[in-house]
Each structure stands twice: as structure tokens, then as C-alpha cells.
Symmetry: C3
Subunit: 223 residues, 3 copies
């Protein structure tokens, strides 16, 4: 996928953001992307692809949201970002490459559009689409959406002061709140507001995913 | 390995292309590299290393092929690329670093040459070698050469219209042809022409490597 | 973590150096960093973080050592580098971000300092600290500090001619010295001076970590 981005301007940085996002699950990934985008400056262009659906009938789109751009499939991946943004605008990608592969739209469809966005030359590739109705899409998701390298479990739930001091229940475990990992003893479970502003569960110096036998999509709740 | 490339010009992009290529198997990797190179623009410089043989008697070479450059060991890794190219030229690397390590020629031998190629200053490092006889090297390899992150199995066989509609046999499995993953139901096996133009085997929303118990080097055939 | 570095100058390269360093073990990682730094040019800035301790009472520091800079936690990670350097100077990071997260100082504390160092604008962020007493920190560590992708086992012991020809004992295995992997037959164990100048153990075309059942921190000795 980086092959095509190679051709864009020297100022462009290619950042491999989502390589370990939940594959085949655009809904969970949607909450992850919406949280991570805030670390990136205005004007950033995100090329993000989560299957399934490549080569199927999903639409290729560009979401412009509060000064950032998101290029990828219209399968829900950008919905949370749109819902969290003050100003969002959807475009359909109408450009097609002559020899577009059936299975690698990241390289053949989305990357050229991202590159042209970076070079301010994407206008002819896009066509505006009507604002979409996201009234049924939840702003927050009280489920595990991602495990990082250390086994920490990120949820799609934005931290809210209303949760302060409450116990979090996940699987058969109850976790107390802390500021960070070392708020509890080594090997103990803690939940906290993570660096993206989301509720997260960890085991201090341990692997929460393995120790608590957690799965992607697992529901959490506060007691 | 990236450490030395750090010094080359700001225009240079370092792309980590082959970090999960079949290690210790230059033959399989040779077909992978020959397929991937086409996504890169003219003038691209590939630094590619596959052992075994570091510190042994294999020669360090540069292959110039149809406007791209390949720097690495002369152990077969570049043979498929040469065979597929209209114009190819081999050079031996005669330059040696004073403190060249015995086990990291990627950093100490190949990267400086790649950096000098990028800066158009590699002439004194190279010596032409006679065209080699690749008449025994196959242009295609009807074997699995690579598994991607999702368990899709890439073969070294270029897609040909003669295969259209045929069943592909691998291990104890028969696969029907499709355009892409979602040409078949979830969990079913499909073969298709992949984004590099090679025959590939996948399980829709599944892991073909695990589900079909596939191995690198496994032979495929059409019925 | 790369998100913030995105903002620094176009000349800056972001190199992901330590993503598979021994997590939760600043001591072992300290010897790895001290060995790897020599491949980088003068003026390089290393942002390196190893927990535990994020959000705890460890100090954030910058070590300036022989023309390179190291930004991260003061938990021992930079001690070996300081000890191996002719000139070293420690600064405490006194700058704090308004919305610094409790759990991601790599992004919120260390990356902005590294970016400002790259832009020569970090002065107001730092305060000198007294030279520290490292008399109890060992210059070398005769333990396994790192496994690479292939299962080769790097130790924290700088190669010394006094070891030449000796057998190395690790776990229940004795290894003979070689120049590189292919100094021994396929499947056999060898120790050698690696490309960083450290003693390393490998199995030719095999995985030493698995075959010898090695662990991080395992002691080695010469017979």
C-alpha cells in the first residue's frame, strides 16, 4: 500500500496507523480510528481500509471531518469519526484506475486518491454525496474494540466523569479505577481513562487479554 | 538496516518491503520480489536480503533491470526479476567497508551501496559481470511462495487466461476461481488473480494457511 | 507515538528502533540501546521508552552522550549508554503539556521534547541535573538481552579478544565460536561477535531461542 504513496510529495509522512486494527470488523475499528485521529494535526489524510467487502458493492468514499480527511471504504469505518465531528462532508470516489485489481483497493483506488488529496489535485476524482443519516450509529460503544501489543484492552467508550470511582465489569472480572497501570500492584487489574480519552482495561506489568481471557467485541459495564 | 539509509538524500523513501518474506529461501522470495517490484516507480532501489549465506562465499551484486535496481546477495533472490525483464545487467559489488561485520551485510555492505546508487555515486563500488545463464530458472513457480498477514497464500505462478474456470488443487483441497475473496461464501476457499498478477488462494473472512494446513513451497496444480 | 513527530522538520527520519525491545525491563534494554546507537550518525535523537513506571514517580530525562541525544524515562534505560560514553550530560525534562495523559508519555511528554531537540528549540524544556553515580552499573552484562526475529540471542557482553576460541555455556548447551551463522552446519549452535560488537548465540538456519529454550535474562559464561 505504501508503494503508491511513494510518489507523493516529500513533505508527506506515511504512518502505518491501523495495521493491527480488528480485521473484518469495520464497526470496532471505527471507534479506534475516531479516537486516534486527535493525535494528528489539521490537514492529515488517513488512508484506512478494513474489510470485508473489497471488490464487492461497497462504495469508496472520502470523509472530510473537522479539517482532516479519511479515504477508504464506506462500510462504517468512518461513521464514528463523522458522528464525533462538528463539520463533516462525504464524497464518493468516482475515479477508477484502468488496471484496478479486484482485491487491493488500498493500493489501486484509495492510495492514489490520498496522494492526490495531499497534492491538492483530487477534485475531479470525487463527487459529493448527500449527508447521511447516522442517527442509529452510537457515539460510544461499551465493548472492547482493540488490544494493543501489551494486551491492554481498549474500549469504544469515551471516559465520562459519571464513571469516576465505579467498578468496571468485563467477562468474570471486576476492575477498580486507577490513573494508570501502576495505580495497582503488579498482576492486578485496573481500568482507567487512556491516552485517547477512552475507557481501557489493563493488568499492571501483565497481559489483560490473556489473563482475563478477553475477546474483541466483549461487552463492558459499570456497576 | 535502516540506520545507514538514514544518511541518504531527503527524497529517499525507505520502504520495508520484505520483512516477512520466506526466510532462508531465496528461491521462493525471488518470485515474490519479481511480483512486488511492479508497484514501484522507475528508478526505485530495492535493498533485499535473504539468507542463508551471509559471511559465506556468495557474491554481493547489483541487478539493474528495466530501470530499477536491486542490491543484495547473488543467491537466486534476483533471478526471477532478471528473467522477467527486457533489459538486465549484473554488477558485482567490489567495494568493502573497513569494519564490515560478518553477519550483517544488509547494513555494512548492501545499504551503503544502495545509498550511493540513490546519490548517483556508486560507480567505483561496482564491476560489471558477464550476463548469466538463467535458462534453467523457471519464469513461474507453481508453489506457495508467501503467506500474507491474513493467511492468504500467494503462489509464484503468473495468472494466465488458460487457467480461467479451472479448479485449483492444493494439499487436499479443491478451490474454484473467483474475482476476489467475497466471490465465495464466508469460510469457503477461492483462488483468484491477485493484485500482483499471481495466482492466490484465500478463505473468505478466514485464514487459508491455517484452515487448509498449507506450507511454504507447497505445490499447486490446475485440474 | 509517531503522531507528534509528524510535526517536526522534513529532514527528520523517524526510525522505529526498539519496538521489540524487552518490555518491562529497562536494564536489558539499556544494553541493547547502547549497542544499537553506534549505527546512527552524530546528532541522532533517540526517543526510547521502556516501562514499567509510566505515570509513576520516575523522572523524564534527556541524556546527551558523545553527540547523540536520548529522550525517555530515568529508569536505567540510558545508563549503559552514559557509562560507555566519553562525555555525557543529563537533563531533567521540566516542561509539561497541559493535557498530558497518565499512560502515554511517549506521545505527550517525550515526543514533543524530541521534536524540539530536532528543531533546536528545547532549551526551556530542560534543566541540568547533577552527574550521576553509575559506579554500580556494569559496563557489560553477561546475560541474554534480546531475541531478534530469527531467534538469535543477543547478550549484553561486548566481545573481547580474551573470549576467542572459548566455549560459551548457556542453559544446558555449549557453543563453539564462529565468524557467522554458516560457520557451523545447519542446525548447529554457534556463538560469534555480532554486528553490534556483542556476543551472540545462533543456530544456523534455525531458531536458537526455541531450540535451546532460552529466556531473556539468562546468564551466559565462557569455559
Amino acid at each position: 500500500m505504501e508503494a503508491v504513496l511513494y510518489r507523493i510529495s516529500p513533505q508527506t509522512r506515511v504512518i502505518n496507523l491501523l495495521s493491527d486494527a480488528p480485521s473484518e470488523n469495520p464497526e470496532l475499528s471505527s471507534y479506534l480510528l475516531a479516537a486516534l485521529r486527535h493525535s494528528f494535526p489539521a490537514g492529515s489524510i488517513f488512508l484506512a481500509v478494513i474489510d470485508p467487502g473489497v471488490g464487492g458493492d461497497r462504495l469508496p468514499v472520502v470523509l472530510s471531518a473537522d479539517g482532516q480527511f479519511f479515504v477508504g471504504p464506506d462500510n462504517g469505518l468512518f461513521n464514528t469519526t463523522a458522528l464525533h465531528s462538528d463539520h463533516s462532508e462525504w464524497h464518493q470516489i468516482i475515479w477508477r484506475q484502468v488496471n484496478c485489481s479486484a482485491s487491493f483497493h488500498g493500493r489501486d483506488l484509495f492510495a492514489p486518491v490520498a496522494a492526490n488529496l495531499a497534492n491538492k489535485s483530487a477534485e475531479g476524482m470525487l463527487s459529493p454525496v448527500l449527508p447521511r443519516d447516522l442517527s442509529k450509529w452510537k457515539a460510544d460503544l461499551a465493548k472492547i474494540i482493540y488490544f494493543d501489543h501489551y494486551g491492554n484492552a481498549m474500549t469504544g467508550l469515551s471516559y465520562d466523569d459519571a464513571y469516576a470511582g465505579k467498578q468496571l465489569a468485563v467477562n468474570a472480572t471486576l476492575a477498580e479505577q486507577g490513573d494508570t497501570f501502576c495505580s495497582v500492584k503488579k498482576g492486578e487489574v485496573v481500568w482507567y481513562c487512556n491516552s485517547c480519552g477512552l475507557v481501557e482495561i489493563a493488568v499492571n506489568q501483565g497481559n489483560a487479554r490473556e489473563q482475563l481471557k478477553l475477546q474483541l467485541g466483549e461487552v463492558i459495564r459499570f456497576l
